[in-house]
């Protein structure tokens, strides 16, 4: 009898445990991880980013002060970054004309040069007014290298006749994947501003640099009609012409007291006679001006004549005439 009751109790206990096991198994709170399947989908598209910076001044580059006809070597660095994209790209670049905002003076975009590497001279490809593929590539960013970049260098040539003043140019960039025809999706900085100051300048170029009065007998003269042309082929402001000379030297080294510098006359216009202002051995203003050059050179003329004093010994004589421009 006692044995039967033990067996019954054991069966009841086994039944209760089995029910509890089923309840625990069925309850979601006791579900083990991975026991339910969930599928998540995401579509990562191709993207290119763009951020251009100059290493020292952010979105600006400064060429400083450049005289007309002078240049800046193509070595001003701009870095094009793709931060967070996932495909490679090429750098496209374009620029605006150089503009003086105060005077509205301009000079061409093509005076700016670019190159893929720093140059020690003003060489490279001329910048264009529309986007051009530079061929400079920016590597594909990856999970391990999420930021990639490449360099482009700029230089500048200031053309002759550029009016003095402060000029700016905007250089714009795009990153472009050619094979997938994708441009940069968004950018933080896609343009830089370039600056240059053009000082006032005048040049002098004389032609000819040797003049001959021919053969003259003593007490004779040459009319003041021997031309020297003074040309400014690169400046940007008006210049004044000054002149001085030395005495005439026999055979280039013997000074004669009666054949002095003042035997040479000069005039602003061609004369049919020996007339004009006596040349001096101190620099004197002629009153002749060389107009301000623009895109084309400007020039002006000065004429010389010579009188040979009586009693001057025969021989070859030489004089140095110095013509100077001042601006």
């Amino acid at each position: 009898m006692r044995t039967k009751s033990f067996v019954g109790l054991g069966l009841w206990l086994a039944f209760i445990l089995a029910v509890m096991a089923v309840v625990v198994y069925m309850h979601p709170a006791f579900a083990s991880p991975g026991s339910a399947a969930l599928t998540a989908n995401v579509n990562v598209g191709n993207v290119i980013y763009l951020n251009v910076v100059n290493s020292s001044s952010g979105s600006k580059i400064n060429f400083g002060s450049i005289f007309p006809k002078n240049s800046y070597d193509t070595n001003v660095l701009v870095t094009d970054n793709d931060i967070g994209g996932n495909i490679g790209a090429n750098v496209l670049v374009e620029g605006s004309s150089w503009l003086n905002a105060s005077t509205s003076d301009t000079f061409g975009v093509s005076n700016t040069l670019w190159a893929a590497s720093a140059q020690t001279s003003n060489t490279g490809t001329t910048l264009s007014g529309s986007f051009v593929n530079t061929g400079i590539s920016i590597a594909q960013p990856t999970l391990s290298t999420p930021s990639t970049s490449n360099s482009i260098y700029f230089g500048l040539n200031v053309p002759a006749g550029t009016p003095p003043g402060n000029y700016i140019q905007v250089i714009s960039f795009e990153n472009y994947n050619v094979s997938q025809n994708i441009y940069n999706a968004s950018s933080t900085t896609n343009a830089i501003t370039a600056k240059v100051t053009v000082p006032g300048t005048c040049y002098i170029s004389l032609s000819p640099t040797l003049i001959s009065f021919g053969s003259i007998v003593a007490s004779a003269n040459v009319p003041t009609n021997v031309l020297v042309t003074d040309t400014d082929n690169g400046g940007n402001v008006q210049a004044s012409m000054l002149v001085e000379g030395t005495a005439w030297y026999l055979n280039g080294n013997t000074l004669l007291t009666n054949f002095g510098v003042s035997n040479t006359l000069w005039d602003a216009s061609s004369q049919t006679t020996y007339t004009g202002t006596a040349l001096s051995n101190t620099l004197s203003s002629t009153g002749i001006t060389i107009p301000k050059p623009t895109s084309t050179p400007t020039s002006n003329s000065i004429y010389f004549g010579l009188g040979v004093p009586g009693g001057t010994p025969a021989g070859s004589y030489e004089q140095t005439i110095t013509i100077e421009n001042s601006c």
Binding site: I204, L206, P208, T209, L210, I211, T320, I321, T322, S326
Partner: protein, 250 residues
């Protein structure tokens, strides 16, 4: 026949071949310098080569006008010669030193010349006129009042300090003299009052009671005396103690 004086003058025609045109240039602007007497100042500008060949140049310093009873300023220009490479520039510095004896407000002028040392486009030399190019600057110099030096400021500071110290000394001396006078007069007044008190004491009472009264008076007078009068009070007290001792001995 003497051919030296035949009066015939011949200049040969020259063969000139122009290879290139030199293009010497200069930065625009005429320098005007204001220089303090006993001081110096520097102006700099650029000369340029806009051509394709180097230009050798030399500098001709200005011949300044002279002003009676004043020394002409010294002008030093650097460099005095050199070569400018094509499409480049050369900085020229003009340093002006104004002599110490010159008056302010004087004006000097002269021309600074930079000329080509040798014409670059001449292949033959000989007879005729050689035309040389150059660029010029009209230099104008004004003398201005001498700039105070640190020594000048030091002298001024020293003088001010001496004046302040002297003034402070005078004030202190006067105050001390006044306080001494006050002390002495107070001492005199105290002594007089003691003497009169002594005389009163001899009339009003004798023995121990009178002594106590006098001591109480002395104490109250000490208590109300100011610090400046302490010394006088102490001296008076000493004299009184002496008097007391003398009375005791009697």
């Amino acid at each position: 026949m003497d051919f030296r004086y035949i009066g015939v003058f011949l200049i040969l025609s020259l063969s000139v071949v122009a290879l290139s045109h030199a293009q010497l240039g200069e930065q625009a602007g005429q320098p005007t310098m204001y220089v303090n007497v006993s001081s110096s100042s520097t102006f700099s500008y650029y000369i340029l080569n806009g051509g394709s060949t180097p230009i050798s140049f030399k500098v001709i310093p200005p011949s300044l006008n002279s002003i009676p009873h004043n020394t002409t300023p010294t002008v030093v220009i650097t460099p005095m010669s050199g070569t400018i490479m094509p499409s480049s520039d050369q900085k020229v510095s003009i340093n002006v030193s104004m002599p110490s004896g010159d008056k302010p407000g004087l004006k000097w002028e002269g021309i600074v010349q930079v000329v080509e040392a040798t014409p670059t486009n001449v292949t033959t030399s000989g007879e005729g006129a050689v035309i040389t190019a150059g660029v010029a600057k009209l230099l104008t110099i004004y003398s201005t009042a001498p700039k105070p030096t640190p020594f000048y400021y030091i002298i001024i500071i020293v003088i001010v300090i001496v004046i302040l110290v002297a003034a402070a000394s005078v004030i202190l001396f006067k105050r001390r003299k006044r306080s001494r006078t006050a002390i002495v007069s107070k001492a005199h007044r105290t002594a007089a009052s003691i003497r009169s008190a002594r005389r009163e004491g001899s009339v009003r009472g004798t023995g121990r009671r009178a002594g106590r009264t006098r001591r109480a008076k002395r104490k109250s007078s000490r208590g109300t005396a100011s610090a400046s009068r302490g010394r006088a009070a102490r001296s008076a007290s000493a004299s009184r103690r002496g008097a007391t001792r003398r009375r005791a001995s009697r």
